[in-house]
Symmetry: C2
Subunit: 208 residues, 2 copies
Amino acid sequence: MPLTDDVRVRRRVGLQAAATEQRRRAILDAAVQAFSEVGYNGTSLRDVAARAGLSHTGLLHHFPDKPGLLEAALDRLFDSTALEFDFASDDGVIVMRALIAAAERDVREPTSLRFLAVVTAESLVPSHPAHGFMRLMQQRVRETLTAAFTDLQERGLYRADPLTPSIAAVHAASLRNGAIAEWLRTPDEIDLVEIIRGQLRMFTTVEL
Amino acid sequence: MPLTDDVRVRRRVGLQAAATEQRRRAILDAAVQAFSEVGYNGTSLRDVAARAGLSHTGLLHHFPDKPGLLEAALDRLFDSTALEFDFASDDGVIVMRALIAAAERDVREPTSLRFLAVVTAESLVPSHPAHGFMRLMQQRVRETLTAAFTDLQERGLYRADPLTPSIAAVHAASLRNGAIAEWLRTPDEIDLVEIIRGQLRMFTTVEL
DNA sequence: GTCTATAGCGAGATAGAC
DNA sequence: GTCTATCTCGCTATAGAC
C-alpha cells in the first residue's frame, strides 16, 4: 500500500532519492580522498565539502557530524571489500589467495588502502573516533586468519611449526599492516604483493 | 680562557645552566607523555606546558615551536636508544639479540615505545612534521637489518631462503612495527617479545 | 626566565533565509 | 537541499611587563 498512487509523484520522489544517494556517494568519495591525504584529524569538513562541490553546511545535511562521516566511509569500504573478496570462507587456501588478490588490487588501486592505512594508524590513540571500530576489526582479522591456518593444519598443508595457527595469525596480520605502511612511505623500494606472498608461503605448502 | 675569572659567577652560571637543562628535560618528558597519549596533532602546547608546570609561553622560551619540540623529543629518544642497544654492530647475531632485548625493555617500559609508535603512525601522512624524519629512520632500519642478515648468511647461520637478506629485512621491520601496533591496541592478547623472537628464529639457526 | 594579555587563525556546529 | 552568516571554541605564536 504505497503512500501515494500518483505515479508521477512516485517517480519524482524516486529521482530525488537517487540524486540524494549520488550526492552522498560523491561526498564519501571526497572524504576518502581527503582522509587518505591528510588524515581524519587533518581534514576539515569545509575541505571535504569543497571537493564535493558544496558548502560544509550542505554536507552536514547528509551526515550528522564529522565522526558520522568517517563511520559512513568506513562502513562503505568494509561492505564493498566483503563483497569483492571471500575472507569469510571456511577454506584456508581460499583465504590465503584472497589476501594476495586483495594486495594486488590495493597496489593497482591504492586509494582505499591509503585511506584505511592512514585511519588505522591515526586510530592508535584511544581518543580517536575510530579507535573502537579498528580494534574490533583487528580482532576479527585475527580470528579469520586463525581459522584459515587451523584449516590448513588439519588438511596437512601447514608448515609453520612450532608456531601455532593463532600465533601465525598475529604474524600475518602484523606483517601485512607493517608492510603496507612501509610501502606507502617508499612505494618504489618495496614489492608489497611479493612481501605478503613470501610470508604466507612460509606458512603453507600450497602453491600461492 | 674563561669569559670570567670569578669563581662565584662561574658557579652561579653553571647552576643556572643545570637548572635550565633540567627544565628542558622535564618539558621533553611531558611532551613524550602527551604525544604518546593523544598524538602530536592531538597535543597542544598548553597541555605539555601544564604537565611540566609552566605556561605555554614559558615553554616557547625553551623550544622554538611545536615542530621543534617534537624534533627534540625524537632526537633524545634515538640518542638514548643508540646508547643502550648496539644496532650498529657488524655482528648479525648481536643485532638479532639487540632487537629482542629492545622489545623486552619496551614491554617493561612502554612509554617510549608508545610515543614512537604513535608518532610513526601519524607521520604516515606527508604533511606531518616528522614525515621526512621517519622515512629516513625506516630506510636506516632496513639497511641495518639487511647488513645483519647478510652477515648471518655469510657465516652459514641464515635459513630464510629463498628470501634474500634485503627482503627479510623488510619482513622483520614490517612485522615489528605491525606487531607493536597490535600490541598497543590489545596488550593482553599478544606476547610482543615472543612474536618478534618467533619471526627472527625463522630467519636464523642461531639460538635466540 | 616566566608571566599576562592578545592577536589572528581555522575549526565544528547552529540559525534562519530561500 | 543548499546557502550565507554567525557563534563559540581552542589553537599557535607574539608583545611587552616584571
